[in-house]
Amino acid sequence: MAGWTVHEGQAVVLDRRDVDTDQLIPARFMSASRAEGYGGFLLHDLREGEGDFPLTRHPQASVLIAGPNFGCGSSREAAVYALVDAGFKAVVAESFADIFAGNAVNNGLLPIATAQAAQIRAELGGDTARAHIDLGSRVLTLGSSRIDFDLSDTAQTKLMNGWDDIDLTRAYAGDIRSFRDRRKSDHTWVWPKA
């Protein structure tokens, strides 16, 4: 996966709260392999149900502005694949479900949690705005407004380098081995007997 530091794109509003992963990608699409591309599955049923859907109107958008508790529900990482394959680089919302936020970072998608999300949604409505994201300085510029966002150092490193955790963890192989050996000798009951 390629890392990124700066992104220029277009923001679009999905004015809904609690957008769960069952909506982001209905279960029936999840047997596809990633190579087939997940972009077409993104919010599939919601999109079809509503004629004038913002994502259909602005297919080139790459920054999604949504409501609180985005990505709640199942741990299905396919929800992130659908967003990424549809061209999204970031989602802005008041809050994210924990598993979703972790999955996002592992796939190069930036979750920006900010209380300003509501205001942005109100201002933008059905329009789009130019979005500029600088991961290095943790700043999102949207039209003329500047939003400083929080991002852990780990998430920043991973997004900028395109790393997932396996790359980071390899450095600790020795620690892991000795932990395992200690656990095995101190807590013999942990290893299943059958």
Binding site: D20, Q23, P26, D45, E77, W189, A194
Partner: protein
Amino acid sequence: MGTGDCTVPGAGLMQTLLDKLWAAHEIRAENGQSLLWVDRHLVHEGSHHAFARLADRKMAVAQPELTFGVADHYAPTRQRDSIADPKVQVMLDRLDANCRRHGIRLFGLGDPRQGIVHVIGPEQGLTLPGLMINCGDSHTSTHGAFGALAFGIGATQVAHVLATQTLWQAKPRAMRIRFDGRAGPAVTAKDMALHWISRLGVGGAAGHAVEYAGEAVRALSMEARMTLCNLSIEGGARFGMIAPDQVTFDYVAGRPFAPEGADWDRALQMWQTLQSDAGAVFDIEARFRMEDVAPTVTWGTTPDQALPIGSCLPDPAKLDATQAEAARDALDYMGLQPGRPLEGTPVDQVFLGSCTNGRIEDLRLAAAVLRGRRARVPGLVSPGSMLVKQQAEAEGLDRVFRDAGLEWTASGCSMCVGMNGDLVAPGQRCASSTNRNFRGRQGRDARTHLMSPVMVAAAAVTGTLTDARPLLEGRI
């Protein structure tokens, strides 16, 4: 709700159950993240993305003896010998091939122990107090009922566990939810969960590990504790846990993969230390009284949109702007009239099963309501595991369900998620013992009402959302 009692001298030295479990698994801590050791890793058909990542990197599974495969999400509940849907067959074959290639023990379709991952882990004694347990499924919090550190992970993390047997994780904050008093008739762990989630909201426990405590939690059976912990994620918590006690130890003893002899003694010694110290400080404390908990049903499209069965549906006109919009949307999707009583709403079908409520006690309670009665609407009963199915049949419960007119099938996730083709048709209303009432969860445009198994049985008998209490009276 208030903060913890901070007046206890030396409170800083007191540890929560979360602290103890975390410390026992921490290999390293760096930049606010801990590298944690995984004791049990459970994989299912949906883990195919993770295996593909491993294959891309040409990596092996680090600890196959701590990894277990289960066919559940796509498991057909009927006609297992000739699977009609080629997609389902592909998913099952892929899991089989991946487990074979990496030397992972698989509870596959033909195995008499097959079932839903969160049912068979405990059933087989793979789930033990003090372990860290992970699975690419958000309801992994179920296993926390044993005093284990158990949480759901995404595909990239599944690949990470496969490759390293570890996970990077930021430690959540600690939250304690207490239930005081005793449960009334027909009030179950499902109602306790829907109650707290409806009070605190779907994000109410986000970023927190929930420990359940209080008299009513102690009084729960192991199976009911699993139901309570299972639903933690629906309130935003990835972790739900209960300190192990004699109920836990009695449940675990003698299970196929559980420790024995000297190992058992050593384990027990350790397990007995797994409680939050008196005076340990929680970031959030919430307290509920059992007298306020009634049989509860969801009316909307998120699990916090739930009410006691005797209530009226919300009226968006009387809510504040943000809530009103969500309520209007939900009522519209659900095809419900604002302000009308919840009870008496006609349902089209029922579903009994899932990792939330597919265990033997759930089936017994539902059967108590259904015995000698006919269901007015069609329905599906899918036991949580094939061993639960066997047990239910030995007790004659299958007869009760069949005589009532419900379909009795094999075990799998089934209509909880519909991946195997067990779907609720568009516009149909289903009384369901599952865990998510999201739009489209049980099938496109399906309308889901979450409730306990005993309430599902009552809905079957009357064909409407019904208070189960009168129907259960004198029967248990």
